[in-house]
Symmetry: C2
Subunit: 644 residues, 2 copies
C-alpha cells in the first residue's frame, strides 16, 4: 500500500441494515437471481454452454450470451459471499463445470464461436462481442474466487487470458486487434488484482494503447473479411476507436462501451501510474459531466447509437439512458474516486446510484428497464427480460455488491463516501475499526457513526460532504467541531469534498454528521435547450418525478411549480417501500376536454387560442424517480415547468 492510497472496500466487510439497499439486496437474492437463471435456462443457454448439447433454438447460443450468463454468475457469487446458499452454490458450480467442458485445449472459451462459427474466431472483433464476453467471464471468475475461495473458474479464465495473451499484442505473429465492445480491459485488471500476474495488466494496457491507432485495426480486419470498411454503417466514434484514447477529449458513441473503456483506462492508470491516461480520464469526465450527464445520472442521449449525441443535448422522452450505461458510470466514478481521491467523483457516483441505475429494477425485483427516459407518456414499463438481456444481470451484480461504494480505507485513513444504516469492519493500518451508522439516509441527512476500536488509534476519518449539500454540521461525542468551510476548526480540515477528522479515536466515539436536506429546485445550464424554464425537484441525492397516479393532470407538462411555492418533504413509510415524498402547491392550466372535442375551429377557438390560459391551484406530489412505474401505469415527468 502506498502512503495515502485509497483502497476500495471489500463489500463483505459491510452489512447494510437500511431501508433502501438492504431490502433491494434481499429482493435481488430472493427474486432477481432466480429470474435471470430461469430465463437463461428456458432460453436453453445454460444447457448450450455444453458444446455437445445440440439445439436449434434461436438464441440459446448467441454471440453475447456468455456475458449474460457471466453477469448472473458474478451477481450470484457476490450474493453467496454474504448469504450462504447451497442450492445457489450448486447451480453456480454446475455452470462452471459446463464452462470447463466448453473450454478448448488452447484455453479459448466462447460458447458461440466454438460451436457455431469456429472458423470465424477473432475475425470480427469490431462487431461480434467476442472479447466482451471474455471480459465478463473473467469478472465472474474473480467474483466467484473472492466469494468462495474456489479457484476452479478463476483458473479457467486465467487459462483463457493466458491464451489471449499469446494471440494479441505487438509482438511477432500477434494480432494487433482490440475489442469493438470494451470490457476485457477492466476485467484483465481484475484478474491481475486477483492473481498478481502482471501479464494481465500488460494485456489490458495493450488493448487500451492500441485502440484507435493507425492503420486502423477495424479497417484491416474488415478488408480481410472482404468488406469495404467505409461501408460500415457507423463511424469509429461509435466504439471510441476514432483516435487513440489519450487524444480523446469528448465522450462519444455507445455509452456502455465508453464507460467500460474509461473504467479500464482508470484501472490501468492507477496500477501503472500513467499520468497521460489519468488525465485523459479526467478530460473525458469533465466533458461528460459538463455537457452530457442527465440529472438522474443517466447517460446516452440517443437510441440510434445507444449513446452520446452532442453537448447540452438532454432530451426527456427520448433519453436513452440505458441502465447498463448508468451502472458503467458508477463503476467509472468509483475508479476515478480512487485514482484522484476527489469527492466530486463520489457525488457523480451517488447521483447515478440512487437515481438512474436503481430505477432499472422494479421494487419487486422481477422487472427491468433497459432504458430510463426522463419523461414518459405512460407506455414505458419494465420488462422481465429482453432479447439483449444485458441490463438485468448488470443491475443484479451492482445491487449485490453495492457495499463496495460506501467506504475506502488507507494506511491511516477511512473514507466514508456514502451513508446508510450499516455496520462495517474497516482495516486502517494494522488496526480494525468497526463503524456502525445510524441514519435514515437518503431520506434524512442525520448520520450518527459509532466507532468501536480494540484500542485508541490515530487516523483520519474523512466524511464526504456531498456536493448537493449546502449546509452541514459535525459533532464528535456531542461537541461541535465543524460546519462548512467558513467556520474553520482545527479539528476538521476540508479537502476535496471530504471533512477530514484527524485525531486519536477511542472505542465508543460518536460522530454526528448533519447534512441539511431541503427540497431543492435544480436548474440546468441554459445551454440545455430542453430544460429552459424548467426545474427538477431534488432532495439529498434523490431526484424526484411526478407520476400521473399521484397527479391526474395529464399532460403533466401542464403543471407549473411557482418559484415561491413552499415545497415540503415527508416520509411515507407505506409508499413504494418507504420513501420521502415532496408535496406543495402548483398551478395547472385548465384543460377542457369537452371543449377540445366541440371547439369551433379554423379560428382562435380550436387547437390554438389567443386567450390567456386558465389555471387552477392543485397540490402536487413528487416521488423518487428511482421508484417510478411501480404502481398504476401512467405519465411520468422529471423536468417541471417553473411558474410565476
Amino acid at each position: 500500500m502506498q502512503k495515502g492510497e485509497m483502497i476500495p472496500l471489500d463489500f463483505t466487510r459491510l452489512q447494510l441494515l437500511d431501508k433502501f439497499w438492504a431490502p433491494r439486496q434481499e429482493t435481488n437474492r430472493r427474486t432477481t437471481l432466480h429470474i435471470q437463471y430461469k430465463n437463461l435456462r428456458q432460453l436453453g443457454s445454460i444447457a448450450a454452454i455444453d458444446p455437445d448439447y445440440h439445439t436449434d433454438r434461436p438464441g440459446a447460443r448467441h454471440i453475447y450470451r456468455d456475458s449474460d450468463i457471466a453477469k448472473w454468475l458474478e451477481a450470484a457469487s457476490y450474493t453467496l459471499a454474504t448469504s450462504p446458499d447451497s442450492a445457489l452454490e450448486s447451480q453456480i458450480d454446475e455452470v462452471i463445470e459446463l464452462y470447463a467442458k466448453a473450454q478448448g485445449p488452447d484455453g479459448y472459451l466462447n460458447t458461440w464461436f466454438t460451436v457455431m462459427e469456429p472458423h470465424l474466431r477473432f475475425t470480427n472483433l469490431r462487431d461480434r462481442h467476442e472479447l466482451y464476453c471474455a471480459g465478463h467471464l473473467m469478472e465472474a471468475a474473480v467474483a466467484h474466487f473472492r466469494a468462495t475461495g474456489k479457484r476452479r473458474f478463476l483458473d479457467i479464465c486465467c487459462r483463457y487470458a493466458d491464451y489471449l495473451d499469446t494471440v494479441f499484442g505487438t509482438g511477432e505473429g500477434r494480432m494487433r486487434g482490440y475489442p469493438g465492445h470494451e470490457e476485457i480491459e477492466l476485467a484483465l485488471v481484475k484478474l491481475y488484482e486477483a492473481t498478481g500476474h502482471k501479464r494481465y495488466l500488460k494485456l489490458a494496457s495493450y488493448f487500451i494503447d492500441e485502440r484507435g491507432q493507425k492503420p486502423h485495426y477495424f479497417d484491416i480486419e474488415a478488408e480481410k473479411r472482404g468488406e469495404d470498411p467505409r461501408r460500415w454503417r457507423r463511424d469509429y466514434r461509435y466504439n471510441q476507436s476514432h483516435i487513440p484514447v489519450r487524444e480523446q477529449t469528448e465522450v462519444t458513441g455507445h455509452a456502455v462501451r465508453a464507460m467500460y473503456l474509461y473504467c479500464g483506462m482508470a484501472d490501468v492508470a492507477r496500477h501503472t501510474g500513467d499520468r497521460s491516461l489519468a488525465e485523459a480520464c479526467r478530460t473525458l469526465w469533465h466533458d461528460l459531466v459538463r455537457k452530457h450527464l442527465f440529472i438522474t445520472g443517466g447517460i446516452g442521449q440517443s437510441k440510434e447509437n445507444e449513446g452520446f449525441t452532442f453537448p447540452y443535448d438532454l432530451p426527456e422522452e427520448t433519453a436513452y439512458c440505458e441502465t447498463c450505461a448508468a451502472i458503467g458510470l458508477v463503476f467509472w466514478n468509483h475508479r476515478l474516486l480512487h485514482l484522484f481521491g476527489e469527492g466530486q467523483y463520489a457525488d457523480c457516483l451517488e447521483r447515478g446510484l440512487y437515481n438512474g441505475t436503481i430505477s432499472g429494477m422494479a421494487l419487486s425485483g422481477d422487472r427491468f428497464f433497459y432504458t430510463n427516459p426522463l419523461a414518459s407518456l405512460g407506455h414505458h414499463h419494465r420488462q422481465e427480460w429482453f432479447t439483449c438481456a444485458c441490463c438485468p444481470g448488470n443491475i443484479s451484480r451492482l445491487v449485490a455488491s453495492v457495499g463496495q461504494f460506501f467506504y475506502s480505507t488507507g494506511d491511516d485513513k477511512i473514507w466514508v463516501h456514502l451513508y446508510a444504516q450499516s455496520r462495517a469492519s474497516l482495516p486502517v493500518g494494522d488496526e480494525e475499526v468497526l463503524i456502525e451508522q445510524e441514519t435514515d439516509y437518503p431520506w434524512d441527512g442525520t448520520v450518527i457513526m459509532r466507532l468501536s476500536l480494540a484500542r485508541p488509534h490515530t487516523f483520519t476519518l474523512a466524511l464526504r460532504i456531498p456536493g448537493w449539500c449546502r449546509q452541514h454540521a459535525i459533532k464528535i461525542s456531542g461537541t461541535d467541531i465543524g460546519g462548512g468551510e467558513t467556520e474553520m476548526s482545527p479539528a476538521v480540515v476540508y479537502r476535496s469534498g471530504y471533512a477530514e477528522l484527524t485525531r486519536e479515536w477511542h472505542d465508543g466515539d460518536l460522530v454526528e454528521l448533519r447534512l441539511a436536506m431541503p427540497v431543492e429546485r435544480v436548474r440546468a445550464n441554459p445551454a440545455v435547450r430542453q430544460a429552459n424554464g424548467k426545474i427538477v425537484l431534488q432532495r439529498g441525492p434523490i431526484v424526484y418525478c411526478l407520476e400521473e397516479t399521484d397527479n391526474p393532470y395529464t399532460p403533466l407538462t401542464r403543471i407549473a411549480i411557482p418559484r415561491k411555492a413552499p415545497l415540503s418533504a415527508h416520509f411515507a413509510p407505506d409508499l413504494l417501500g418507504g420513501v420521502s415524498v415532496i408535496t406543495g402547491p402548483a398551478e395547472v392550466v385548465v384543460r377542457d376536454e369537452a371543449r377540445d372535442e366541440a371547439a369551433a375551429v379554423g379560428s382562435w377557438d380550436g387547437l390554438y387560442t389567443t386567450d390567456l390560459p386558465q389555471t387552477e391551484q392543485v397540490t402536487i406530489k413528487a416521488v423518487p424517480y428511482c421508484v417510478w412505474d411501480n404502481r398504476e401505469p401512467g405519465e411520468m415527468l422529471v423536468w417541471l415547468q417553473e411558474g410565476i
Copy 2:
C-alpha cells in the same frame, strides 16, 4: 350551376400585383420551372420517357418519376396560361410527344413498368405508385388543356383513363384494386370536369368506395405475389385503407396520401351530392384541425411514416411537415370550402398557404424544403433537389396557380376568400365584375376594393373575415356599414365567416375592409405537451419565428417573452423580399460559456445548479416563418417561452 353554388375561380382571371405572391410567381416562372426541368433532364428522366431510350442510369426511370415530370408539366402549363413563353411551350410539347410514344396500344402509360417491369403491371398497387403516377399525368393533362386549348395530352390521358376504366371496378373480370398512394381519385374528377365524361367520376367513386373493404385488396394482392400480407412492415392505417373511408374518423398514416384521398372524397361528394362522404370529410377535418394541425399549417408529425402520430402530439424539432402535405391541406380545404361554403376552411387554407407551404421554397426559387420543422438547431436547409423530388414540383404548381384560391363566384355572389393587391375579372350571373384590390396584405389589414361593372347589378359580395381577426370595419364608398357581429347592420349579414354585402352595385363602388392586425400571442390547447408555457407570435395570417441571425442567443429556448412585453410590427422593405417584422423586449437567461467550460462539477456548479437564473433584457426580432433559412444558417424557433 346550382343556386348558391360556389365555383372556384379560374386563376387566369386573377392578376396578382402584390409583393408577396407576384414576385414568387415570377421567380417560379424564371427559376423554379427551369430547375425542375434541368434536374429531370440531367437525371435522364425526360429522355427515358421514350421507351426506346436505353439507359442504365439509376433513377432515370423510377416508379414515381412520372409524377415528378407531370408536376413540372402541370406547373409549366399554369405558367403558360398567364405568361406565354414559346420556348417553354416547345419543351412541354416535346415531353408530351414522348408520352404519346410511350403510351401502349391499350392506353397504358407508365414509363417505369412499360420498360422495366412490364410483367408486373398492377401487381402491387399497395407500394408501387402506379395509379399515383397516372393521377399526376391526368392533372397535368387537364392543366395543359386548360392553359393551351390543345387536346393532345388530354386525349392521351383520357385514353389511359379509359383503359383503367376497363381494368378496375366491381364488374365481371375487373380488378377490385385501388391505389396505395392516393391521387388518381382527385385526378379523375378533374378529368371529368374537363371532359364531362361521367365514367371518370364513377371510376373515382369506385376507388374511394372500395378502399378498406373486406376482404382487403392489399391482402389479396400480396398473397398473389406470394407474400404474407401480415409481414408488411406497416399497417393499413398508413395508406388510409384500414377501414372503409366513410367509417374513418381519425386522420392516419402518411399525410400526403391522406390529403389526396380526402381531396378525392370531397370532389366526389361535391359532384355526386353524397352526404356520407361529405360528413366523413367533415369528421376527418375536425380531427385534423383539433388535434394534429401545426400552427404553421404543416401536418404529419413523424418522419417514421411521413405522417400522423397521435392527438395533440406536436413536436418542434422533429416535426415532419412535408411541404407536399401542407400543399395537400390547402387543396383539401379549398375543396371543403366549396363543398360546405364555410369560411373556417378558408382560414385553414390561408394558414397553410402563408406559412407551412410557401416555406417550402427559397426566396430565390431554386432550393426547397422537403420537411418544415418548427425548430431547427441550424442544420436544416433547403436543397436544390431530392432523390424523391415530389416537393419542388408541387410547390411550383401551387405558386403558379395560387390565384385560384382568392375568389369564388356564383350566380348572384362573389366570395373574396383572400386578399392581395390584384385585379380580377369575375363572372356573376351573366355579368362580369372587375375587382381591383388595393392593399399591402398580408402585412397590413386594410383592403380597398374597387368594383367596375358595365351596368348596375345586384349581387352579394361576401368578404371573408378571417378567423384570426378579432376586430374589423367595413365601409362602402366611405359609409360605415358594419364591423363585427355585435353591430348588426341591414347592409351586412355575417354568415359562416363571411360578411355578406348584398345590394345593387355600381361601377366605381369602393369597398373598404379594415382587418385589425395586432401582434397576437397564440397558445396551444394545454393538451399539447410540447407547447405548455409557450407562445407563438402571429400577425394576420403570418406565423413568426426567431432566427439566430437576428437573435444571437442560442439556444433560442433561452429567450422568454414576458406576458406584458409590448410587441410591435413594422414593415422592413429590404428584408427577405419585404416583410413585416415583430420586435419587442424579452428576457434571456445569461449563458456563461467560460464558466461552462471551467465549472467545478459533481456539485451544483456543473451542468446543474440551484442558483436562480440570471437574466438580461434584450430586444428580439421575429421574422415570418415562411421566409426563414434565407440568410445565414442558424437556429430557428417558432414556439417561444412565455416569461413572467
